[in-house]
């Protein structure tokens, strides 16, 4: 008994932790925004780059151009063909990963201190001078086509695509980032070059470095790395209007468990109410096991293995999204419970205890994220592209702690919208009225 009295005292104590990360904000002579954390304890460096824009720069006709282009960055560059590039990367034991999202093209690299110069030279070739050789284009195109075909039979993908199309209509967000079978088949080498020029430009680039490198070295190497990229890229797409109305879209698919994607309009990250909304989402569905939806849908009723929600605050639109999966004969009940919880939190907000627990979790968990060079580089570049100042690392927890029950109640009234909550269900749901 005594032990648990002690543990209670521990719970109540204010968390003493702060994230002790010393960020150096540098603008290089070449004009690149670079954030650096020096840490010489491991003989290696983690590098993160973000180019704003990503697949949302694709037109409908050229759908999937950015995705295919990104898949080809490591398939040959400068005087190395695809296999030569891969061999060189292996010799250096460097890791380069290229990815594309709606709003950003990402490059994640790590390399050893002993191979730093050679690793960066190779990475630079892939950014500045990718070859887009004909055989490589066809090989990667075939991989994309295979993946697109798989997506057509994957209930989670079917649901997500249908939801995006409902929410965003003709905006690029409403289209699959990989494109369609028809658009990918039609992409030419010129399309890939155009996609690269559109997104890989210095006016939308953010870079972070963490590890065994000094500020002077970092400044010089970043300018060499990206100095020969074009200065400006393509204009970003305009704002997307979120057009969601209450209802259930059912897509027939013969599988035992229905997969559900649901959501409504969200909130921008620079909105004064964002932190209150963030805490609200944590309590409703974002907070893992402790969230209301997990408790009501999984723990009390056993209707699912997992349910979660999150604020999807994109560059050009804001959504509040969630996902759940339940057996076909139980999914109607799961949706009923979700709707009831949506209504309940709008009407009665959250309790003092829920708010306190959410704050201790969110403020306590934040510093735990900074536990390695790779994670720190990733957090920093994310902050940069979101336009956050470096001191956000120290101001973030006080802003969470400043959220009051009244703030939550106000934001719940403003944001939680049972009339705009849309469900897309892929499966053979039983007893579920579809509004399609």
């Amino acid at each position: 008994m005594m032990r648990f009295v002690l543990s209670l005292a521990l719970c109540m104590a204010a968390l003493p932790l702060r994230a002790e990360v010393e960020v150096q904000e540098i603008t290089t002579p070449g004009g690149v925004q670079l954030w650096l954390v020096e840490d010489h304890s491991i003989p290696g460096v983690a590098l993160e780059m973000r180019f704003r824009g990503g697949s949302s720069l694709d037109t409908a006709e050229k759908g999937g151009a950015t995705n295919l282009m990104v898949g080809l960055l490591e398939e040959g560059a400068a005087d190395l063909d695809a296999r030569g590039f891969a061999r060189r990367q292996e010799e250096l034991a460097a890791s380069f990963k290229y990815n594309v999202f709606d709003d950003a093209l990402t490059v994640s690299a790590k390399f050893l201190s002993e191979n730093r110069a050679d690793s960066l030279a190779l990475l630079r070739d892939s950014l500045i001078a990718p070859r887009f050789d004909g055989d490589a284009v066809e090989r990667v195109r075939a991989q994309v086509v295979s993946s697109l075909k798989s997506d057509e039979k994957d209930p989670q993908e079917i649901a997500t695509r249908a939801f995006d199309a409902l929410a965003f209509g003709d905006h690029p967000y409403g289209r699959p980032k990989q494109g369609t079978l028809a658009s990918v088949a039609a992409l030419t080498r010129d399309d890939l070059l155009a996609a690269k020029a559109g997104v890989m430009a210095r006016d939308r680039l953010y870079v972070s470095l963490v590890g065994d490198v000094t500020a002077q070295e970092a400044t010089a190497l970043v300018d060499v790395l990206v100095g020969d990229l074009p200065a400006t890229g393509a204009p970003l797409p305009g704002r997307a209007e979120v057009a969601l109305a209450k209802g259930v879209t059912v897509i027939d698919f013969d599988t035992p468990q229905s997969v559900v994607v649901f959501g409504q309009s969200g909130i921008a990250m620079d909105d004064p109410d964002f932190f209150a909304a963030f805490v609200l989402d944590h309590i409703l569905g974002g907070g893992g096991f402790e969230s209301r939806l997990m408790q009501e849908v999984r723990e009390k009723r056993g209707l699912t293995y997992g349910i979660y929600t999150y604020l999807a605050s994109k560059d050009q639109a804001e959504l509040w999204m969630g996902s759940v999966a339940s057996a076909n004969d139980r999914v109607a009940e799961a949706i009923e419970v979700i709707r009831a919880e949506w209504q309940r939190i709008r009407e009665s907000g959250v309790s003092e205890q829920e708010l306190r627990d959410a704050k201790t979790y969110l403020t306590g968990a934040y510093p735990l994220r900074f536990d390695g060079n790779g994670p720190i580089a990733n957090i920093m570049v994310g902050m940069q592209i979101q336009g956050m100042p470096a001191d956000y690392i120290t101001t973030r927890n006080p802003r969470i702690n400043a959220v009051t029950q009244e703030d939550i109640a106000r934001v719940a009234q403003r944001l939680v919208d049972p009339e705009g909550l849309r469900f897309v269900v892929v499966g053979r749901p039983v007893g579920l009225a579809a509004s399609n």
Binding site: L17, A82, R83, E138, K153, F253, T255, A325, A327, D371
Partner: protein, 448 residues
């Protein structure tokens, strides 16, 4: 001639790099054993005030009684229900209130529970984790709801996914007698019948300090961990009736087997081949090391043999892979996969795969390729230092699967010592169709 000179030069350069990577100081890992037999591993990293606290049990789905498949995983879920001291759900709620996150996972050979918290919360985690090692309290209500949850988990992971169903069928066909042929999550009809007594019987038999390993990784010292471990775990008596881990062994496998699964939800058909293979054994890891490198040589990315022959030299496949799971208590598998290109049938893809394997066995390994792989393995030791939780994980998995601390620490050098001849010998031994299963995953109604 010139080419040979260049090759030699390349190898020398790379070995120099490897030697430098080898100068890395030893992993900051300390181990000791409590009086009741519980092993403790402490992996230090003081860069961030974070700690991962894990308890690993040497029991998993392959230790289940016949007819109760899934009970090890079911019990893992039930450990988040109450104890004598904690209400149902209070464990995770307390971790969350302290800013931490927690979870658990079950495999064939182990079940593990972990929390990731600020390092000054370690004692609280030890209090709670040691409590549920012996004081679990379950009611019938917990059973019914949580059984529904694991059935939804099976729906999500397996029933909704033809590739996962296919994998289950291949595993069940590969193992004629051993429990590795039964899925970790359980067969659906046996999951439906799991009850309170099944769970408690498994718990009382397997959950004890002498069947567990404590792993603490992060901003801690062994000096700080030892008294806490003694206080919370050392006070629990050992289970003197702990069963030996004697599983039904495989008989000699003498017949090549084939599996075809047709499912309307298949978008991309493929061929999968698995061979029974030797696992990493304590004090005898050399053959496993050769198989590990064989998987890299054949399927480790763009420069690998299968990729080269089936995706570059010819365009038979859109994807190929080779996988070896060395960490296992008993006989494991070496797996190959080929996803055919558009217009290539599964029969053609399988034939191409077998042809390439035969060519490989005849021609052997490119020395330069092997040197690059070894360089990457050396580098991976440096990269691993950036993730101390990953280091803790590596020890937990090894120690629950029959290996010792020394085995874990010798492994990188054993890998470096593998020769081309070792790899070829391992390849000749493992690629024996009599011990294999070839699987075709197909669309319904399509003939090949």
């Amino acid at each position: 001639m010139i080419r040979i000179v260049t090759l030699t030069y390349g190898v020398v350069l790379m070995l120099a790099g490897a030697a430098q990577a080898g100068d890395l100081p030893p992993e900051p890992v300390t181990t000791f054993t409590l009086d009741n037999g519980m092993m403790v591993v402490v992996a230090e990293d003081h860069r961030a005030p974070v700690v991962t606290h894990m308890v690993w049990y040497r029991s998993g789905s392959a230790d289940e009684p016949v007819g109760q498949s899934g009970v090890a995983h079911f019990l893992e879920h039930l450990l988040f229900k109450g104890t004598d001291r904690l209400e149902p759900g209070e464990f995770s709620a307390t971790v969350a209130k302290n800013g931490g996150s927690d979870n658990a996972f079950t495999s064939y050979d182990y079940t593990a529970y972990y929390q990731r918290v600020a390092s000054d919360r370690l004692e609280l985690m030890m209090q709670m984790e040691s409590d549920r090692m012996v004081n679990l309290r379950l009611g019938e209500g917990d059973i019914a709801t949580e059984r529904a949850v694991i059935i939804e988990e099976r729906n999500q992971r397996v029933e909704n996914n033809p590739s996962a169903l296919f994998g289950e069928q291949i595993g069940a066909t590969q193992y004629l007698n051993h429990r590795y042929g039964v899925p970790i999550i359980g067969w659906r009809h046996e999951m439906d019948a799991l009850d309170l007594n099944d769970a408690l019987d498994f718990y009382h038999l397997h959950y004890a300090p002498n069947n567990a390993i404590l792993v603490v990784a992060g901003d801690v010292t062994p000096e700080a961990v030892r008294p806490l471990a003694e206080k919370y775990y050392g006070s629990i008596p050992a289970n003197t009736d702990l069963p030996l881990r004697l599983r039904p062994a495989e008989p000699p496998q003498i017949a090549e087997r084939r599996v075809t699964l047709r499912d309307a939800r298949v978008a991309q058909p493929y061929v999968s081949r698995s061979y029974l293979a030797q696992e990493r054994d304590s004090g005898a890891q050399h053959k496993a090391a050769a198989l590990e490198l064989l998987a890299e040589v054949l399927g480790g990315g763009t420069t690998s043999y299968l990729t080269e022959k089936l995706q570059f030299d010819t365009q038979v496949a859109v994807y190929t892979g080779a996988y070896y799971t060395g960490l296992a208590l008993d006989s494991t598998t070496f797996d190959l996969i080929i996803v055919p290109a558009e217009g290539v049938t599964l029969a053609e893809a399988e034939a191409a795969l077998d042809k390439v394997l035969a060519d490989f066995l005849a021609t052997g390994i490119d020395a330069e390729h092997l040197a690059r792989i070894k360089m990457q393995l050396r580098a991976s030791e440096i990269y691993a230092r950036d993730d101390v939780g990953g280091i803790g994980n590596r020890y937990g998995r090894a120690l629950t699967q029959g290996l010792s601390i020394a085995d874990v620490q010798e492994w990188p050098d054993i890998l470096q010592a593998v020769s081309e001849a070792d790899i070829m010998a391992a390849a000749h031994e493992v690629f024996d169709l009599r011990r294999s299963v070839t699987g075709w995953l197909m669309q319904e109604g399509v003939s090949q």
